[in-house]
């Protein structure tokens, strides 16, 4: 019987629950013997000219070296159209920008020495917000002449909304959040006698990191080996590597010492890239019967001080229309630089922002015409018979059952009953208002259109070693891939080992991000296993004196079809005879489009503004499910993280560019008492775009849950005159919205 589709506990867990993982800080390998400890001195001001004097620090106990931009002999690297220095070179542009690197013999000497690095900060005017950036009163990069470093679209049709009975427009803030994996960034590195650098790095893709580090150091990629030990979460912010790793590799060479580096949480919150940070203006128009005729999305992306990831606003444009078929669609985007931490990928990366904008817009439109938000969605869904569907912005959706997903969650949630309860509370004047929020979403997985590698080897004892270019860090992919291979090869799970994250073992790969691992990495191993089975079948045919076409694999042994009594050959017997191995690149990287619907139920105390998330009911359809345990786990995590953005997470800066949420005492992670038990509704709509029929699930639930919870909070307040409030829906913000609404009434 196939184990695919059954709930299999993870092969990863035994070590994690008995000895803990081996994260980069836990490494006790010989190559790191005698390693020095590293700490970056980071700017405490947002924008200033800097001069650095390291002389006092160099005299401090245990100091091996202090390096500044003046010491570095590396070619500069680009961030979008501008140069981002490895260490601040004359100017700092955000709080947290690395200014110097300190190396000491002992860990406890680091902070003491770092304090003695004398940096003179001569303040410059600060651009701390999107509005300030757009004004161009202060320009971060004078050579550019403007803070707007990327522009797309914007040639709008003045008559686009002329046929509409109703037009609503709103600017919606998708606030800046911190990915903040529980394991902060860390690295260790050592140069070998062979002139090669080994870099142990907490990353989502060793191979991309290797390319970045080799390029930064000006060496050949073959001279760098990147190894990912256990990685304590990434959420997109550990895609590849940040400039720090290049500086560490350089410093290890210059000092002649292996180096260990781990940042503090406070550093992580200001120096690891942030996510979201978009200001989206939606204009939605249509008829009073609920038909949307035109939709316009204008994206302004805060790129932070160095525009490292400019695909985010354009990906938001690509996914602008969500699950709906609109006759007229227009989008534009601008990306601006500000004196804040650079923005890059964070769980969903561009798609949550698109979904949040369109799903808020649908609710705004529904409220304006007085039609239930569920009904407005139903009227405008892309119909199942329209797939494959090319959206007006150019996305090619594979398959979808949007109305079905919505109906399922509304039924599971008891939507009609909840609406009745809401009406009852409103009539009775209950100060605790009930809010229902709907979000129906489609997202894109494997959207980078790249492929992935897979290599398979049957060992002489019949056990299997699989090498994947994917790089899991909590998703349970080891287990999922092992299940697939066990099923396909007929080899028990405990005889299969999945290896990843070492560029010497897997030189060519793209890694884990964009929910691509199962659909691409899994397909690659499927293809490799197919090839190995073909090799084995040919060998077995010789032994069994049959045609290869007549040989079949049954329960891990090859036999003649229809004649099991004539004997069988095992994997071990065949592997002794010849090398059974295949190394493939699954190159058909067509993206897939998972979808779903979420219903959130909140209670809002209208006297205090306090919001309590009572229920969240989620349908997330990513095609066939390999391991329900891992699948549900990804959804749970996504629901929690997505709801947290709606409810409480925000990375705040004051007008001078000082982060005011730079510790976990200030930056709000969602905690266990703030979340309800999740109610999951299952649905499986396969794709034809890969060998497994699967779509990605890593980001889906995050994408749906944020607007569902956000919409629920607004819905709770709608009878009091509130049409919109920005996230996070903190008590203060809710209370302010209520106060404004009462004034307006």
């Amino acid at each position: 019987m196939s184990i695919v589709g059954t709930r299999v506990v993870r092969v990863e867990d035994h070590q994690l629950i008995t000895q803990g993982g081996t994260y980069v800080e836990d490494l006790r390998v010989e190559a790191l013997t005698g390693a020095v400890h590293a700490m970056f001195v980071r700017s405490p001001v947002a924008h200033a000219r800097v001069t650095v004097d390291a002389s006092a620090a160099l005299e401090a106990p245990g100091v091996v070296a202090v390096y500044t931009a003046a010491d570095l002999d590396l070619a500069p690297h680009k961030a979008g159209p501008v140069v981002e220095p490895w260490l601040a070179d004359g100017v700092v542009r955000y709080v947290g920008e690395p200014v110097a690197l300190v190396l000491t013999e002992e860990r406890y000497q680091l902070a003491d020495a770092a304090e003695l690095v004398d940096v003179d900060y001569d303040p410059l005017d600060v651009v701390a917000s999107i509005d300030a950036a757009l004004s161009d009163e202060t320009v971060l990069f004078p050579d550019q002449g403007t803070n707007t470093l990327q522009t797309t679209g914007g040639e709008f049709d003045d008559k686009a909304f002329d046929d509409c009975e109703v037009v609503v427009t709103k600017t919606i803030l998708n606030q800046r959040v911190a990915p903040a994996p529980l394991e902060v960034r860390g690295a260790a590195c050592a140069w070998g006698d062979d002139g090669r650098l080994t870099l142990w790095l907490s990353t989502q893709n060793a191979q991309i990191s290797r390319a970045t580090v080799a390029k930064g150091l000006g060496v050949d990629a073959k001279d760098v080996r990147v190894i990912t030990p256990d990685v304590g979460g990434g959420f997109g912010a550990k895609i590849g590597t940040d400039p720090e790793s290049v500086v560490l590799g350089w410093a290890s060479k210059r000092s002649g010492r292996p180096i260990r580096w781990v940042e503090t949480r406070s550093e992580n919150l200001v120096a690891m890239t942030h996510g979201r940070a978009q200001q989206n203006t939606v204009t939605i128009g249509g008829r009073r019967d609920g038909t949307v005729l035109a939709f316009r999305l204008e994206v302004v992306q805060d790129a932070g001080a160095y525009p490292r990831t400019m695909f985010l606003p354009t990906l938001t444009e690509l996914m602008a229309t969500g699950v709906y078929h609109f006759p007229k669609v227009e989008t534009s985007s601008r990306a601006v630089v500000t004196n804040t931490t650079p923005i890059a990928a964070y769980r969903g990366a561009g798609r949550p922002e698109a979904t949040a904008a369109i799903e808020r817009a649908m609710d705004l439109f529904a409220a304006e015409i007085g039609v239930d938000p569920a009904e407005v969605r139903r009227i405008n869904f892309i119909r199942p018979e329209e797939f494959p569907y090319t959206s007006p912005t150019g996305a090619s959706y594979d398959t979808g059952e949007y109305a079905k997903a919505l109906d399922k969650v509304l039924e599971a949630g008891g939507y009609a009953g909840l609406r009745a309860e809401q009406a009852r509370r409103r009539e009775s004047g209950d100060p605790v208002a009930l809010g229902l929020g709907i979000a129906t979403y489609v997202e894109i997985t494997g959207g980078d259109s790249g492929g992935e590698s897979g290599r398979l080897l049957i060992n002489p004892d019949g056990s299997v070693t699989a090498y994947t270019g994917s790089s899991p860090h909590g998703q349970g992919l080891d287990t999922t891939l092992t299940m697939l291979l066990s099923d396909q090869l007929g080899v028990p799970m405990e005889r299969i080992t999945v290896r990843h994250g070492d560029t010497d073992e897997v030189p060519r790969a793209i890694g884990t991000f964009g929910s691509r691992s199962l659909q691409l990495g899994g397909s690659a191993l499927r293809q490799a296993a197919d090839q190995v089975i073909d090799q084995a079948r040919a060998l077995a045919a010789d032994r069994l004196e049959a045609s290869p076409d007549d040989v079949e694999l049954v329960d891990g042994a090859f036999q003649v079809r229809g004649a099991p009594a004539s004997g069988s050959v095992t994997w071990a017997q065949l592997a002794e005879e010849a090398e059974l191995t295949a190394d493939v690149w699954f190159g058909d990287g067509s993206p897939t489009f998972p979808f779903g619907a979420h219903l959130a139920v909140v209670e809002v105390d209208t006297l205090t503004g306090k919001v309590v998330l009572k229920r969240i009911i989620a349908c997330d359809d990513a095609g066939p499910i390999v391991n329900p345990l891992a699948f549900q786990g990804q959804r749970h995590g996504g629901l929690g993280q997505g709801a947290a953005q709606a409810l409480l997470e925000v990375m705040n800066y004051d007008a001078d560019g000082n982060p005011t949420t730079a510790t976990l005492a200030d930056y709000s992670f969602v905690t266990a008492p703030e979340l309800p038990d999740f109610e999951l509704v299952d649905s499986e709509t396969p794709t034809t775009r890969n060998l497994l029929g699967v779509k990605g699930i890593g980001e889906a639930a995050t994408i749906g849950s944020t607007p569902a919870v956000h919409n629920a909070v607004v819905d709770a307040l709608s009878h009091l005159g509130v049409r919109h409030l920005d996230m996070p829906t903190t008590p203060l913000r809710v209370w302010q919205a209520l106060t404004e609404a009462r004034k307006a009434n």
Binding site: R10, H636, F678
Partner: protein, 156 residues
């Protein structure tokens, strides 16, 4: 100063700086790296260990304060025959972990929670784990793990 701490049944005596934190003593002097550091404000709970049987965040305890006391870390939780502690077993069965970084602290906090309240409600579990942050699981399965370990029904 010299500090002696009984960690998982073995006494570790080392000369350390006065300011050495218990978490660093456990990781560096005792060489037990399951206990993790996730923040610098005693907010995340990744470093939770048992000190004389009570859960503490070991990043906020000086090694000197634990001098002469008894510490249990994740590595010391298994039974004599190597059997998993019921909480360890339950975390695996209920998929109560993903990346695993919060897990040692989460398991130790759960052990302590059940010591004080052997049959908690789901809400009591949630409240009891408020000081331990998880970024991966959304907590649902962590609550299930604690319920399972206490012999109660779970909500899959």
């Amino acid at each position: 100063m010299k500090v002696s701490i009984e960690i998982n049944g073995t006494t570790v005596s080392e000369e350390v700086e006065d300011r050495t934190l218990l978490v660093h003593f456990v990781r560096e002097q005792a060489g037990l790296t399951a206990t993790n550091i996730g923040c610098d404000t005693t907010s995340c709970g990744a470093c939770t260990v048992l000190l004389d049987g009570e859960s503490v965040k070991s990043c906020t305890v000086l090694a000197a304060q634990a001098d002469g006391h008894r510490v249990t870390t994740l590595e010391g939780l298994r039974g004599e025959g190597g059997d998993l502690h019921p909480v360890q077993r339950a975390f695996r069965e209920e998929h109560g972990l993903q990346c695993g970084f919060c897990t040692p602290g989460m398991i130790m906090a759960s052990v302590s929670l059940l010591d004080h309240n052997p049959k908690p409600t789901r809400q009591e579990v949630r409240d009891g784990l408020e000081g331990n942050l998880c970024r991966c699981t959304g907590y649902h399965n962590i609550v299930n793990a604690v319920m399972n370990a206490s012999g109660q029904e779970v909500q899959r």
